[in-house]
């Protein structure tokens, strides 16, 4: 089992951590404190005994070969994996000190506080651009038109999409390009003002320009959100993240500063994977 404490983080995140330190006597609590987490799909163990602390307002990348459990791990952070039948969980996942798996916790509320962006952009096909963004708010009972309009513009601006769609808000979400659709989905995720954004290969279906726009957006959002991103693209992990976790056959092999992982990994398995000497 790897016990990962909060590692040193790169300058921007270090500055944030310092600011957080100034406002409190104790060090900032990690957004997630995961301990001895194991997850089974039926008889198959997808995650085995993972312990990791994910600091708040940083970007943490999760890398590893297909089937290593990285998406399962991501989904367990907002209980999304429960949507798969015959799933069993052991261990603890604390979010801001609160056990996400204790009885009485509403998974829907968890998913509102911890939003998710998927690999394939999935705007609601029958809804307009505007409706796609504010649908989450409406489902949460918000009816105030002014508030909805404000949140619509704010979310689209944060998703770096406002200038491109402000005159076409009534058009179908599906009329946008692939990259725009993905940023629309990010706008939809942040419209409900979550504290965390989980991203499961958010740029894998996009062209290089759209990918860079999404990466730039991730960087900007990290000032206000804790972001955990699963990616197969190691250059992307290297570019966008403060911290990187390497998973292999359901186990956390190494978790450290991204700079450290990509220049001097401690574990041979990590080195072999990131340098392309695997399998």
């Amino acid at each position: 089992m790897i016990k990962s404490s909060i590692p040193l983080i790169k300058p921007v995140a270090v500055e944030r951590a310092k600011l957080a330190m100034q406002s409190t006597d104790s060090p900032p609590r990690p957004a997630f404190e995961v301990s001895n987490l194991s997850i089974w799909y039926g008889e198959k163990a997808a995650i085995q005994d993972v312990t990791i602390d994910i600091p708040a307002k940083t970007i943490t990348a999760i890398i590893g070969p297909s089937g290593c459990g990285k998406s399962t791990f991501l989904r367990c952070l907002n209980r999304m994996h429960e949507l798969v039948p015959r799933t069993r969980v052991e261990g603890k996942v604390l979010f801001q000190g609160e056990d996400l798996y204790s009885s009485g916790i509403d998974p829907a509320l968890v998913r509102r506080r911890i939003g998710m962006v998927f690999q394939k952009s999935n705007p609601f096909p029958t809804m307009s651009i505007a409706e796609n963004v504010i649908v989450g708010l409406k489902l949460n009972g918000v009816r105030n038109r002014r508030l909805l309009d404000e949140r619509l513009e704010k979310s689209l601006r944060m998703a770096a999409l406002w200038d491109e769609v402000k005159d076409d808000l009534h058009k179908p979400g599906m009329s946008l390009s692939g990259g725009q659709q993905q940023r629309l989905c990010i706008a939809r995720a942040i419209a409900v003002e979550p504290e965390v954004l989980l991203m499961d290969e958010p740029a894998s279906a996009l062209d290089p320009i759209a990918t860079m726009k999404v990466e730039e957006l991730i960087h900007e959002l990290s000032a206000n959100y804790t972001i955990v991103i699963v990616t197969h693209n190691m250059q992307q992990a290297s570019r966008v993240s403060d911290l990187t976790a390497f998973f292999y056959v359901g186990k956390l092999i190494e978790f450290d500063e991204t700079t450290q992982i990509f220049t001097k990994p401690k574990e041979t398995k990590t080195e072999d994977y990131i340098t392309g000497r695997f399998g």
Binding site: S238, F262, T263, K264, E271, D272, T275, G276, R277, F278
Partner: protein
């Protein structure tokens, strides 16, 4: 560094090719340095000219290795030990080229020297040459074998070379007063000693790069290196 093969055999081949070119450049540089010193001991003006001309080949190799290194970075975007290897190769290549420059400087000084060397002076220069050449050879061996302890020994030996240069300068300066008619020769010997001291500095840089390539440790500008 991982010993297993890269999934892309083209990467392994390209990196191995680059390492091979660097080691060839190191051999040529060492040969040039030896020839430069033969210029001093033999007072052979033809050898001086050949040594100066041979630098062109080393300059071309430097450009070629740099270009191939950049191409490898562009094509494969390597990380971890692979990235350190390529960065180190590019830096070592630059230091080898500067060692070759020093060999040329020595050859040019030798051409200016008269045919009547003072055996005592030459002996002290010979000792400096042996010290600096040994440092170059061992720094390259340390890189080739990823031998961190050998590289660290090179860093220590640079202090000895610096002291030898200091001692020789003191001896030559004192001798100048006794034989003012040969002051130009003594100045040329002083410059040759200075060039050998610079060779040691470049060998030290190569040893530092060898340590970085092997262990990712950056020992530059640290007071306690060994």
């Amino acid at each position: 560094m991982s010993s297993s093969k890269h999934i892309l055999s083209t990467f392994d081949e390209a990196l191995e090719g680059l390492r091979g070119e660097l080691l060839m450049m190191a051999s040529l540089t060492e040969k040039n340095l030896r020839n430069a010193m033969k210029c001093l001991s033999n007072r052979d003006s033809n050898l001086c000219s050949a040594t100066i001309a041979d630098e062109t080949e080393i300059d071309e190799l430097e450009k070629s290795i740099d270009a191939e290194g950049v191409e490898l970075l562009r094509r494969f975007q390597p990380v971890a030990s692979d990235l350190r290897q390529i960065v180190s190769i590019i830096k070592i290549c630059s230091n080898l080229e500067r060692i070759a420059d020093q060999a040329v400087n020595i050859a040019k000084r030798c051409r200016k020297l008269s045919r009547d060397p003072n055996p005592g002076d030459a002996k002290q220069i010979d000792a400096m040459f042996a010290q600096s050449l040994g440092m170059v050879q061992d720094s390259i061996s340390a890189y080739r074998a990823a031998d961190v302890s050998l590289a660290r020994s090179v860093l220590e030996r640079d202090k000895v070379l610096d002291q030898m240069n200091h001692d020789l300068a003191a001896t030559l300066t004192a001798t100048m007063g006794l034989a003012p008619e040969r002051i130009t020769d003594y100045l040329n010997l002083l410059f040759i000693a200075r060039h050998l001291e610079r060779v040691g500095d470049h060998a030290e840089n190569i040893a530092e790069d060898a340590i970085y390539a092997a262990s990712a440790e950056d020992v530059r500008h640290s007071k306690v290196q060994a």
